[in-house]
């Protein structure tokens, strides 16, 4: 366990260094994000003064050490654009992303499970074929394109749903308004990922259905439904859980794109802006947070794999000895 925590810390540190240097080496002017239009009209003297104020005049390496020192004390600096502590900036937005990503996550895996079971139950018959066909076609549609299409149909032409934002102006606490704003982005997030996982569940279950123990379960008189739910699904679950954990960053990445297209005020839009306008401090914290999510989820899936499946324990060593 200590090994894992150590590994986690080292990964995060390595990530921060990488992020820091890459973001500073990339072209762009951070002063623009702080001073806006004014930055372009500044004289050389003024620029030097401004850079000194933001601590950008020192060598990159010194800057990094200083940032690291502050970060360890919980001070991640201020956002150039919002002139606020970056933690506050993110805190104001992260809720929106968690709602979109979290509900999306639950929906994706819930629906994928249902569809997967349905397909496996009707293997190679009509329902299975229809679901698989629809899945193949929809999963080929890029997310941004689908977003634009949905906006065009439901927001512009039919005027049923709003096209952007998280809630109507001044109605932050209105649940209905929030819900209406969520529908389109959520649809895109879910349809973008659903089919892949549904297909996976289907194939995993079918693999299990062909196993010998299913034959024994049927031979002892179990009905098909009991075999499917009590035996097959049970054996699919560990793998499914670990894949759920791995897929968190994947789905997170998907929501970032969707947020941008729908101008949904979440982490995704923030990340895009900060990268574009060189809002260094904001970019660093966002990058590290996303990175932590990725690393943490991967470790979680590893742990799930080891702990849940009773077969994983010391079994490999024994099998090796038996030589078969």
């Amino acid at each position: 366990m200590i090994k894992k925590i150590l590994f986690f810390c080292i990964s995060v540190w390595f990530l921060s260094a990488l992020l820091f240097f890459i973001s500073r080496l990339a072209p762009g002017d951070p002063l623009v994000s702080y001073y806006g239009e004014r930055a372009e009209k500044m004289s050389v003297k003024e620029r030097e003064w401004a850079e000194e104020q933001l601590g950008l005049d020192e060598p990159i390496f010194v800057q990094y050490i200083r940032w690291l020192e502050n970060a360890i004390h919980g001070n991640f600096g201020i956002s150039y654009k919002y002139k606020m502590d970056v933690v506050e900036v993110i805190g104001a937005r992260i809720g929106n992303t968690l709602i979109l990503g979290g509900i999306g996550f639950v929906l994706i895996f819930g629906l994928a499970m249902v569809l997967g079971i349905l397909c496996a139950w009707y293997e190679d018959r009509l329902p299975d074929r229809i679901i698989c066909q629809i899945g193949t076609v929809t999963s080929c549609i890029p997310e941004f394109w689908l977003s634009l299409l949905l906006i065009l149909i439901f927001a512009v032409n039919l005027r049923w749903l709003p096209s952007s934002g998280a809630y109507a102006v001044g109605e932050a606490d209105n649940i209905e308004s929030r819900f209406r704003h969520l529908i389109l982005p959520m649809t895109v997030v879910v349809t973008g990922h659903l089919w892949y996982y549904a297909y996976m569940i289907r194939n995993r279950i079918l693999e299990e259905v062909r196993a010998d123990y299913v034959l024994l379960a049927r031979a002892k008189g179990l009905r098909r439904r009991s075999v499917m739910f009590r035996h097959c699904l049970r054996n699919v679950m560990p793998a499914y859980l670990s894949i759920m954990a791995i897929s968190v960053p994947h789905i997170l990445g998907g929501t970032y794109i969707v947020e941008m297209v729908f101008s949904y005020p979440g982490i995704g839009t923030l990340l895009y802006e900060s990268a574009r306008y060189k809002d260094y401090n904001l970019l660093m914290l966002l990058g590290i947070l996303s990175g932590i999510a990725v690393i943490f989820c991967n470790m979680l899936s590893q742990i799930i794999n080891e702990k849940i499946d009773p077969r994983m324990k010391a079994d490999d060593a024994v099998r090796e000895v038996e030589g078969r």
């Binding site: 123990y213 034959l215 031979a219 008189g221 049970r234």
Partner: protein, 336 residues
């Protein structure tokens, strides 16, 4: 003795992209209460398909083409999944070749046995269920069942797993037990133990058993009657004594001769030349003809019918026809 199971002219085919595989072709036999029938043959001869076909455990691409399956005189050929579920476990049950994969790896063994018990006694109390599970585990010779029932299959050795599978199969007090090569995947010593257990349980509970194997030695140990299968057909059937001491079909002779015990002290083992035919387009006439050193001209043209040797002993070979030349069997008592 009344006949518990009667198979009449059963044919089973698989529909595959490569064509129709006639896995079981026109099989008839009957099984009496409490008797052990061994079905012997090489892999791919249809012996295991026949068992699964009777229990309707075959995949969707398999189809019973013709024939009838009678259970206590009742025709179950047309039964659907729901009706079969009621028969499975309580009337017939099955144990499989590979005990390593036949148990669900993520469920404690005791629970898997309990599941089978519950299937037949849905309202059973928790305590009674546990007692029944322990009783079953003791019946199949698993020591300290109380501790072991909570363990997962991977804690068990191969022999122990096969015992657990037997406990599951016997949970519903079935009248017929299909044993599909139950000892093939096990070590010699464990094989012997499982064979003895099979015989012991069979005598204790009076369960009729269909024992599928390719090991003639194992057959000699447990079988009352023996059916020899080749290319989807039963080519010879009779009591164990008749088959071992007075075999009539050349394929049975070949099987006996390829046993190393038969060639002791010789330079080479006796072999049956060639390979079994594929069953996609079974050859015309006797399927064994091209591997048969005693083949007659008619074997290539017409399938031999079952010739009776005695009341219990039948063999499908033209050699038994009145017009055929007399051939002395190279094995069995006729030789000694």
């Amino acid at each position: 003795m009344s006949s518990l199971l009667e198979i009449q002219n059963l044919s089973i085919s698989f529909h595959t992209p490569r064509g129709e595989i006639e896995a079981v072709r026109n099989i008839s036999f009957s099984l009496s209460e409490g008797e052990v029938l061994a079905v012997v043959g090489e892999s791919g001869c249809g012996k295991s398909v026949m068992c699964k076909g009777i229990m309707k455990l075959l995949p969707a691409c398999a189809q019973i083409k013709s024939g009838r399956i009678l259970v206590n005189g009742k025709d179950i050929t047309g039964y659907g999944e729901r009706e079969m579920c009621n028969l499975r476990g309580s009337f017939f049950s099955m144990i499989f070749q590979n005990p390593m994969t036949a148990l669900n790896p993520t469920m404690p063994v005791g629970r898997q046995i309990g599941e089978a018990v519950k299937q037949k006694q849905p309202g059973i109390s928790k305590k009674a269920l546990q007692e029944r599970v322990l009783e079953l585990m003791q019946l199949v010779g698993i020591d300290s069942p109380k501790e072991r029932m909570k363990l997962y299959p991977h804690h068990f050795s191969g022999g122990m797993r096969q015992r657990s599978v037997m406990a599951i199969a016997l949970a519903g007090n079935p009248r017929i037990l299909f044993a599909d090569e139950p000892t093939t995947a096990l070590d010699v010593t464990i094989q012997a133990q499982i064979l003895d257990l099979l015989r012991e349980v069979q005598q204790k509970l009076g369960t009729a058993t269909i024992f599928v194997t390719h090991d003639m030695g194992a057959v000699a140990r447990v079988a009352d009657r023996v059916a020899v299968m080749y290319a989807g057909k039963i080519v010879e059937i009779g009591t164990a004594e008749e088959i071992f001491y007075d075999p009539r079909h050349p394929y049975t002779w070949g099987l006996m001769q390829s046993l190393p015990a038969f060639s002791r002290g010789k330079e080479t083992l006796h072999t049956i030349p060639g390979m079994p035919p594929t069953l996609i387009h079974p050859p015309k006439g006797d399927a064994f003809a091209c591997r048969n050193e005693y083949a007659l001209a008619i074997d290539y043209e017409e399938e031999p019918p079952m010739f009776p040797v005695t009341d219990t002993h039948y063999a499908a070979t033209w050699l038994l026809d009145a017009r055929a030349p007399k051939v002395t069997a190279p094995v069995g008592r006729g030789r000694k």
